[in-house]
Point group: C2
């Protein structure tokens, strides 16, 4: 199997310069698409065989969309492409000197130009116990796991007579008040209020508690203060316990401890409070920013090495001196910029490209039914129904593929008109340690009690 690289060499033996794009997220995909039908060979490598539309992950996690609605097969995107090849493999390391990348399965892939677009992963700031007791919301498997987990908690609570156990099953803690945390908390509130109380005879809406914890003094720090306050108000009105200036410090099987000293009895901690750049081995010697992203110059070239670019969450790209946020719009613009820069270089353009500048069209988030917020370039701010409709239009526009757009619209229409969350099936619950953990004999307080009791 060491021959994999040869096969790739064979299929890409045009003699044109090879661009190796590592990662098919928003940045890598935009770069590869921009290089389609251009005089370069492109090899796009990703661990998964699909591009994931991460802004809608929380809707998969709340039983509204199917996983395949927000995942688009990469081979489909480049089906008609004469010069872009897709490869499903894990990148193990980069050797910038020899200009090769080690992948598995397979071996070495050489490159003329490297575009590193490996994104970011959940970060628990080194707290291993917190990591074990949390479910993140970065990849598709986490979204389906979270869906399974929440539904299983409701199933268990339906039968539970012990108040303490029941409370921990019906308390859901969301860590992080950025867009992911806010959107998930809002959608979870709807899932439980609209659907679960009709399905579960012994669970009253008031039995369920959703706590959203944010370390800063308000939600949605990247938005103007007014919009963050609006989101907080809407969530509170919908029964969500919002706590700002608060961190999750510790967690165990039965509870989470917050920085204000309080203990929340819970079996569910959803982690959206931190991510860190995902850097393959071989990048240790590179300069990094305070947020640990790889330092790039104003043309997005990795500092200190040759013919290598970094884009998206993994790269510390700047505009007007500020590091850009880890969001899809900067990643996509960086991907297209790098594609153009590489083409200029290949075509030996007389002048270097203009420095990269991020053009901020706006940012948005949805808090639930009829409630969205949107910040448009120029400072225009929308909230409420109009913000929500803007959110829908923009997200449908950016979804890849007619079928996925149609299905998302149909699902949203169905949800809106029928107050339904249709994908309420627990698939593969057996393999989830947190769900399995629910079979645990008793919480610590009960163990203490039973020690003094009949033993």
């Amino acid at each position: 199997m060491a021959a994999d690289a040869e096969r790739i060499e064979e299929t890409l033996s045009s003699g044109r310069p090879r661009v190796l794009v590592v990662g098919a997220g928003f940045g890598g995909l935009a770069c590869a698409r921009k290089l389609n039908r251009k005089p370069v060979e492109v090899l796009l490598v990703d661990e998964r065989n699909y591009h994931l539309f991460t802004p809608l992950l929380y809707q998969v996690a709340t039983a509204l969309l199917n996983p395949s609605d927000i995942a688009y097969p990469l081979r489909r995107v480049f089906r008609g492409s004469p010069n872009v090849r897709v490869m499903q493999a894990r990148v193990k390391s980069v050797d910038f000197k020899r200009k090769v990348v080690q992948v598995s399965p397979g071996s070495e892939l050489r490159y003329d130009y490297l575009v590193l677009a490996t994104g970011s992963a959940n970060s628990y700031f080194g707290n291993q116990r917190l990591a074990e007791h949390s479910i993140g919301l970065k990849v598709l498997e986490e979204a389906t796991r979270l869906r399974n987990h929440v539904l299983s908690c409701l199933e268990r609570a339906e039968m539970e007579t012990d108040d303490e156990v029941r409370q921990s099953l019906l308390t859901f803690l969301v860590a992080g008040g950025g867009p992911t945390g806010v959107e998930y908390a809002g959608a979870l509130g709807e899932l439980i209020q609209l659907v679960a109380r009709r399905d579960f005879h012994s669970i009253a809406p008031s039995d369920v508690r959703i706590v959203l914890v944010e370390g800063r003094d308000r939600l949605l720090g990247m938005f103007p203060e007014r919009l963050g306050r609006y989101a907080e108000r809407v969530l509170r009105k919908r029964g969500i316990d919002v706590r700002t200036n608060t961190l999750v410090n510790a967690a165990d099987d039965w509870s989470a401890t917050l920085s204000d000293g309080s203990t929340i009895p819970t079996r569910t901690i959803v982690w959206s409070a931190g991510v860190s750049p995902e850097k393959p081995s071989g990048t240790e010697a590179l300069a990094e920013s305070r947020s640990k992203r790889i330092q790039v110059d104003d043309r997005l070239r990795i500092e200190g090495v040759r013919d290598a670019y970094a884009i998206g969450d993994v790269a510390a790209a700047k505009t007007d001196g500020d590091e850009l946020p880890m969001l899809s719009p900067p990643a996509m613009q960086e991907g297209r910029y790098v594609a153009r820069a590489i083409l200029r270089d290949v075509q030996r353009a007389a002048t270097p490209p203009e420095p990269f500048r991020y053009f901020d069209k706006g940012t948005m988030a949805t808090i639930g039914r009829n409630a969205g917020i949107a910040l448009v370039r120029g400072g225009l701010q929308f909230t409420g129904f109009f913000g929500w409709v803007t959110w829908i239009v923009v997200h449908v526009y950016y979804l890849i593929g007619f079928r996925n757009r149609l299905l998302a619209l149909v699902a949203w229409g169905w949800n809106y008109l029928r107050f339904d969350r249709p994908i309420r099936i627990v698939l593969e619950s057996q393999t989830d340690p947190l769900v399995e953990g629910i079979d645990d004999p008793a919480p610590p307080s009960q163990k203490a009690r039973s020690r003094g009791g009949s033993g």
Copy 2:
């Protein structure tokens, strides 16, 4: 948590006789639905929180339908029911003397009437190695695993240069020529011919081999011979290597050995060649039929115990002396019959119910695009396009829920018009040992070779 049973006792404390239905497949669900709004308390227990429409599992396995399209939440079915409660739990054992069932999570559930509808599971006739190297097609997790596995084989083959390795990745062996095996083989052929060759640059349709193996002398033994021969002809015409009078005897990581002595190099064995009844512990002393199903009398009562019925795949129900096949129509009719019998007993009817008789409306199967077979009561036989349309109409009718019917119709229309299999994403590939196995260094023959080479 030992208090679960109390909670159930509490919610069902009407004083009416309690019917405990174990298993929410076709039989158990039909029984519980028939008892809806009747003067009994019904408790429906299943390991899963959904009813699975198993006849369409092969379409999930071939990337045409989403898992949620064929799985319907049980709580949704009985949302408005005043007397049917749903419980997600595993049944551990039955105590027919004390009239209780042990479940996990939870403890004991008492019953006045028991309906055992636990279905069947894959059976490998005790061949453990065959079991480890096969993927069954009985539950939803197997269907998604098979989808992931086949797509991963194509991904790996796309990059592979070694002919032997490539051949094993591109050979798919289907064991069992009943409806499941025939339908899956036909749909897999379409998936690969219609879609994969457009997505994978280095895989020619002639590189892929699908082998369907059946122990008897023809396919679809339950159908008249003409229909079985038709299915064989259609599959052969579509490039599938059909081998009758042949069994799979053994399997390892790289190949399967057939009873005719030939070895098929393959990484994929799909098992539909045998199932056996799934009996909870406590049933060991019961009389069983030659197929190991629980013996029931002509009123479907389990022989030798009181107030306990068995239906569906787990029960050896007969009509005109013949044991009924393990299919959904007999299970559903048995479920409804038992519901009526229990109600007569509860209402102290003067006469015992008529013995159970299966009314055979017909059987059908689909082999792929424009090709189905249907056998209708009275001996009417359809093949080809008309058989295919009949299949679609009947399957949409039996799917539960307007949404699922609509989505299946839309998916089939999409597939028919666009020649597309849209759900081509590999979800959770990391946890699949058979997919992981693909990373293996080399097949045995290569290991032998490298031993003589550079080491």
